[in-house]
Symmetry: C3
Subunit: 242 residues, 3 copies
């Protein structure tokens, strides 16, 4: 997509999150800094309605409970119905059986458009051979020192980013929120995820320049995201198509 950031800032898409209690503020705040509008709502009585007025749904199982999973299923069904992108951040899959089962339940019950995780989370999901709905059209995002994004046909490697991003809690969760924001304005979800990680990584590189540690880095990261432009990032993009 040519100018994803400009598009987000002009259209201000509502990005509905059902996420964890650790990084929920940063998920909201980074979505806002990119120009989208975050909304967090998990009550079963309203979550599907909230998804119904949104342009993307981001699910993050970092501090899942069975009640939260039920709300995720309600919202994801509404998102599928409305044909807006559903992002699943598979936080901690592989760490406990409950997480594995709940992730499998989501993937088997609703269509997830973009699955994100680190190497071990994605490997665990892939190894399960679980029955998944419409996985043939799912984009996969594997984050790490370099990020790999694939939809089965195209595979991108994103090399933007800085090691200080790993020094603070929540950059992984923030990445999922950004992917949701980019996917809300770009129907090519693989391209959207690739762009999201380039933009976030570029902001991280800029933020690292004047950072003395994770405290100042996080402050600078928000400032740099806020001051980002499509032109600035496009001169910095380090993407390879395999």
């Amino acid at each position: 997509m040519k100018n994803p950031l400009k598009t987000i800032r002009e259209t201000k898409p509502l990005v509905h999150h059902i996420t964890n209690w650790v990084t929920i503020y940063d998920c909201a705040n980074i979505t806002r800094a990119f120009g989208a509008l975050p909304v967090m709502a998990h009550a079963p009585e309203e979550c599907a309605d909230m998804t119904g007025i949104s342009s993307a749904l981001v699910l993050n199982i970092g501090t899942l409970t069975s009640e939260i999973i039920d709300s995720m299923l309600l919202s994801a069904a509404a998102a599928n119905e409305k044909k807006i992108p559903v992002v699943l951040d598979a936080v901690g899959v592989g760490a406990t059986r409950f997480r594995d089962e709940m992730a499998a339940k989501i993937l088997g019950s609703v269509r997830v458009d973009i699955i994100k995780g680190n190497y071990s989370e994605i490997a665990k999901l892939a190894g399960e051979n679980a029955e998944t709905k419409g996985v043939e059209s799912t984009s996969m995002v594997m984050t790490g020192k370099e990020d790999v994004i694939s939809d089965g046909n195209r595979t991108f490697v994103v090399k933007n980013g800085h090691e200080l991003m790993g020094s603070i809690v929540g950059t992984g969760c923030m990445a999922a929120s950004i992917i949701g924001s980019f996917a809300s304005v770009n129907p090519d979800y693989c391209d959207a995820a690739k762009d999201a990680l380039c933009y976030f990584g570029a902001a991280g590189e800029l933020a690292a320049k004047n950072s003395a540690g994770p405290g100042s880095f996080k402050v600078n990261l928000y400032d740099e995201v806020f001051n980002l432009s499509d032109e600035k990032v496009q001169a910095m993009m380090k993407v390879e198509e395999l």
Copy 2:
């Protein structure tokens, strides 16, 4: 009131919050920066007891559930009994029917002393013509580029503030916490709400001076609130009485 900030800092009122999971930390931290003592407790077994030792109650329905609403009703009843101010931040009213119903349930079951919302939230509440308890004595705070505060007799327009306050998530929720803190030491709730928004807006103006974006702005906002004085704000107040 002559020196509300000095009064808060000398009396250190306990401000009980039942609030949302996104901005709960900032609600607590801004209350602390103003000199009051925040406490967050939502378990039905203790919330009324916690309100019973507090000087104000702040309710925020940002991530409401039916259980949280039940706790809010228990605490608000205790606050009404103790005659301490109850602030309701009507976050997201109008977005889902559940929110509208729960806000109406609160307003119909307990006395709310100060209702706060943005234009669309307040308009929705006003348009409902819901049966409300003691609404004749309720102060209404409508936030926006300029804030309007009214108790039916007096109406103030507060013009303090800076657009960077809208660039971070949570300034609206923080405003409700500050209103609760000011109302805990000033029985004229309309005056307290007006002061609260002037003080917060003034801190925002000072913070914006050396901010490169939302990251540094938020850091500076906390520093400026901490270093505020009644004298400093009173020289900056931009209030009009209609």
Copy 3:
């Protein structure tokens, strides 16, 4: 212990938290800044499994509910079984009967290795004469202007720290996370708690040097923790053994 920080950074212990919703992000982030790996998981279906792969368990009752207490008991039993340290931060004990009862329930049901609180919280717990499991081997940490750490045989007074630490919400909770991190690599829990408070206090002293208020102080605190070394702290330690 000679080089606790180096040991944490080399071994990267997983520190499982069941904590409150106000400071949960800072508990995670400070654990990360010290070099340990935080994990937060409270669902009853997985919390014991998560404790089973962790090296310490930190319990904080700041926003307790009866369901959260049930999860704490499941995790603490798993920690006792695995013989990893259990830290209890007795936030708000004395404020409501529910808190007192739940703290007593934890102490009467599982072995807590380190109990942390401020003067009034510890005094309340001590005054209850509650039946506690294995309290003869429990270390007690009483925080304040000076921190007192004792296991009944040895008593340390830690004088590191800075008053700006009290200007932000969450330093108490963060201290419990740090104690858990240090105890995960040092079987002498009294020594570990003493070290944890020295290191955190020393970082606070360094951070205060260039801080204009609580906003910049918190940023600097994370930077200073990140840049701490055993040598740096050992030259700054202010500990007295009584």
